[in-house]
């Protein structure tokens, strides 16, 4: 079994697993606990480590395939450590026709990343999404919980710049 990797924020993951166990146990008796527990796990580690999947399956008494099926179905959950900032480019129909693909290309170039990859300094992860439900603002990108609207490829540099300077959310916080 793959051991938990050191997480990007440098926190001790052993401690986090213990914290996770508490969280899973607190949800144990509630129906439909799986998704909230996975959200908590994602926030706690910044991704969903293998060890956490086994723990969730064991404590919630859900088949591994179900837990893994839910994780891989929702793009919110990640099986790989993500950077401090997750950039998601909407590729829904409205955004696409408004030039989202060009924005994506600009992001790829500036970050030297492909979709799903994380920068070596663990600052950015580039990902795409399908329709964020804000078509009036197309094309949009989301950086963590911030929405950037009517983005043009030329805006990309500035947007990235603000995050490079800023101190963002700390991982390990459960929202």
């Amino acid at each position: 079994m793959a051991k938990v990797q050191k997480c990007s924020c440098g926190n001790d993951e052993e401690g986090l697993i213990e914290r996770l166990e508490e969280i899973i146990t607190s949800f144990k008796e509630k129906p439909g606990a799986l998704i909230p527990v996975l959200q908590a796990t994602q926030s706690l580690f910044g991704y969903i480590p293998q060890e956490a999947i086994l723990k969730i399956s064991e404590i919630l008494n859900e088949p591994l395939s179900k837990v893994y099926g839910v994780i891989t179905f929702y793009s919110f959950f990640s099986l790989k450590p993500r950077g401090k900032y997750l950039i998601r480019v909407c590729l829904g129909t409205a955004c696409y026709v408004q030039g989202a693909n060009e924005v994506l290309t600009a992001l790829k170039q500036q970050l030297s990343l492909e979709i799903g990859e994380t920068s070596p300094d663990k600052l950015f992860t580039l990902d795409v999404g399908r329709c964020f439900g804000a078509c009036g603002l197309a094309p949009i990108i989301m950086v963590n919980d911030d929405v950037h609207q009517w983005v043009k490829p030329s805006d990309v540099k500035k947007i990235l710049g603000t995050y490079k300077k800023q101190k963002g959310v700390n991982q390990g916080e459960v929202k």
Binding site: M1, L54, N61, P63, L64, S65, G69, T72
Partner: protein, 909 residues
Amino acid sequence: MQININNKSYPAHEGETVLDVARKNGIYIPTLCYHAKTGQSAKCRACIVSVEGMRGFQTSCNLKVKDGMSVLTETKEVKDSQRMVVDLMLSSGHHNCLACERSGTCELQDACYHLGVEKTSFSDHPTGIKDESSEFIVIDYDKCIKCGRCVAGCNHSVVNEVLGFGFRGLETTIMCDDDIPMGDSTCVQCGECVQLCPTGALTDKKSRGKGRFAELKKVDTTCPYCGVGCQLTLHVDHEKNKVVRVTGREVWPNNGMLCVKGRYGFEFHASPKRLQYPLIKRNGKHERASWDEALDFIAERIKASVGEHGPDVFSALGSGRITNENNYAIQKFTRAVIKTNNIDHCARTCHAPTVAGLAHAFGSGAATNSIDEILETELIFVIGSNMTEAHPVVSYYVKRAAQNGAKLIVCDPRRVDIAHWSDLYVQLRVGTDVPFLNGLMNEILKNGWQDEEFMKNNTENPEEIKNWLKDFTIEQASEISGVPVETMKQVAKMLGEAKKVSILYTLGITEHICGTDNVKTLANLQMILGHLGKRGCGVNPLRGQNNVQGACDMGALPNVFHNYQSATNEKAIEKMEKDWGVSGLSRKEGYKLPTMLHKATTGGTKILFCVGDNTVQTEPNTAKTIKEIEALDFLVVVDIFPNMTTEYADVILPDVCFNEDEGTYSNLDRRVQFLRKAVDAPGEARPTWWIMQELGKRFDVDLKFTSANAAWEDMRRTGTIMGGITYDRIQHIGLQWPCPTVQHPGTPILHLNGKFTRGKGLFSQTNYRHQAELPDAEYPFILSTGRRLWHYHTATQTRNSIGLENIFPEELLEISPFDAKIMNVKTGDMVKATSRRGTITLKAWVTDRSPAGVTWCAFHFHEAHANILTNDAYDDVTETPEYKACAIQIEKVSDGIAVVERGFRQARP
């Protein structure tokens, strides 16, 4: 009601779907995701039809009929749309039929055939991805159409919960656990997914290239492994005289489901190691002999010995592995020809306490209810049963019932895998079932949860038991059994409040020195709760072997003739003497198996005629058994493989196996099921009924066994509870006894409405007795024994079939993490386990299935089997050995490589 399909009117019933009606009337509508077992899912859209007054096309697999509905299935529009769906499906992967295992039974191929689709009009997308990591199952992802039948089957039919859908959109795929290769996953390879797959995506690895479905002969028969009695179809290559593939039949009791042994453990029948010719031991070596030579020799030796010492020096063993007919043959030979009642079989080592205990309480010593009723019960109380391994198909029903909302309580010293699905797992100390159950009953009575009316009307001594149980406080029970008082109260409450409770138990109850008491106590509990004689209730022992129920039914027991007619009752004896045309049948009860063996050392037993019983490996305390076997004057063994017992035999006779003769097995819910001949027996192997007939002739007795059916009819003539079961009646599906007349429909539920076979139910007073050998400073661990999923008994069948041994190649000693830490033992290390009777060396498996102080191993592998260690202490009523508890010490021999454990639910390292 009537509905119109293609302008023709057809009768239909409320609740049916359009597809149901179409199929019933031979109208083909392509379907891919629909299967009767996994239900409607309306996913694949291949079954679309047009319905008058409804917009667009409708999926017929989930469209309920309405009176006067008008459906069109053959219009150009409908066909074009169906064709498009199938065309798209073809292009989604790479469906090449040329070398496909499924060719001929593939439902996608059927759809293409009927719709005239030669190839996809789009480009297909082969990925070449296959998963061949599993021992028995191949996944070809290029042929997967994502219908979800395998996922539904795995999660809701057999409830092994391994397969699932992962990812989304175009990337959607079936996967095992967290998308790991099937061979590394928790898959137990029951093959349900293969059976349900409509295409060639999931196929049997071992039958690859050995014959397509259409060119093989299909023979319906009964599984030769455990007592569930699954119905299966053998796919036989006649030219090669071999079974190539096994599929489950979708009838009761298994509804198509099988376990890994039933589906993939079949090659043993064609093993070159099979016994093929009679062998006589000359100068310490077994030499080939003719049948006449061997039979003359046996007859001569029996005549000499019996002539000199009387008939009781002869003992015979029938078997829970052989057919009813063969058991009947051996018991008739022993009784009618030799004139002794010294006939027994291996129920002695497993469920004899069940037969004794339940017959005492209810008047009939068999399971009271049927397997399928598990799905209708409210609370399932499992005690002393590792059912996911020993009776996998029953466990599927239990797991499914639990999934559908039934409560499940599992009581066992080991955290057996079925506990994973339980609402409450109760860990009691080894051998403390009586005080535990008495404590529960005390609590039930204290709270007034008993069924007062049932007790009053249907039992003989209700007041007596109430008074008796007053002394068994729950606190006292808790102290002995180690179950917390609170947990006991919870169990009692759940039992008391449920309207239907079904008790399922196995050898954890019977294989103790107090085995019969344990069974009687369970009977007490159900009589107090009034859960007998109703659907979904009862006391249900899971019988271990394919035909151990039948061997009892056929009278391979020292105290009864077939159908439990007392062998010491003058009327019954006279009946048999008259029918069999003999006189002077023995009037006294015969020896039980352990007594037969003990008497060998004092000269009381001189000849043992042993059919299908590997006595040396299966009796406790092997060293002692060997001494006893060696003390015999003459040992005859009839078997299909050489084993530890044949080594000591003076004559070995080759038997036929399950698919080489016809016959019947009785399963654990009393269902007599048919076996068909599928292949020819190797060499000169002969069925036991033939051997007995030929031996009888040498004593001038014609036993009238000219075929298996003749033996059955001979039994039926004097039979009672099976008198109405004929071969003709059980061709398609078995019949449950009692079935006294040929018009009788069979009896799914015994003691209906609380009318017990013996009249009124009888409560018994049972007291706690601790195991015969308690752990002490020198031998500090308890050793318990049992069965693994991957093997069966002394493994002659499973180790001679391809693949099972690759999965589980050697025995492991299960040790708790607590004890392992103290001894510095890790999984994979070699350890020496020693009891007062012997030593075995085997690998350790550190697992939290075992509680501290308790170890466990099985008796499958002759290299290191549990019975070298087990204690020859016996239940005082039935002489069933205490396999479930003896004391051992453990010593680490050497370090080994720790095997990676991934939280396997099933017993594999």
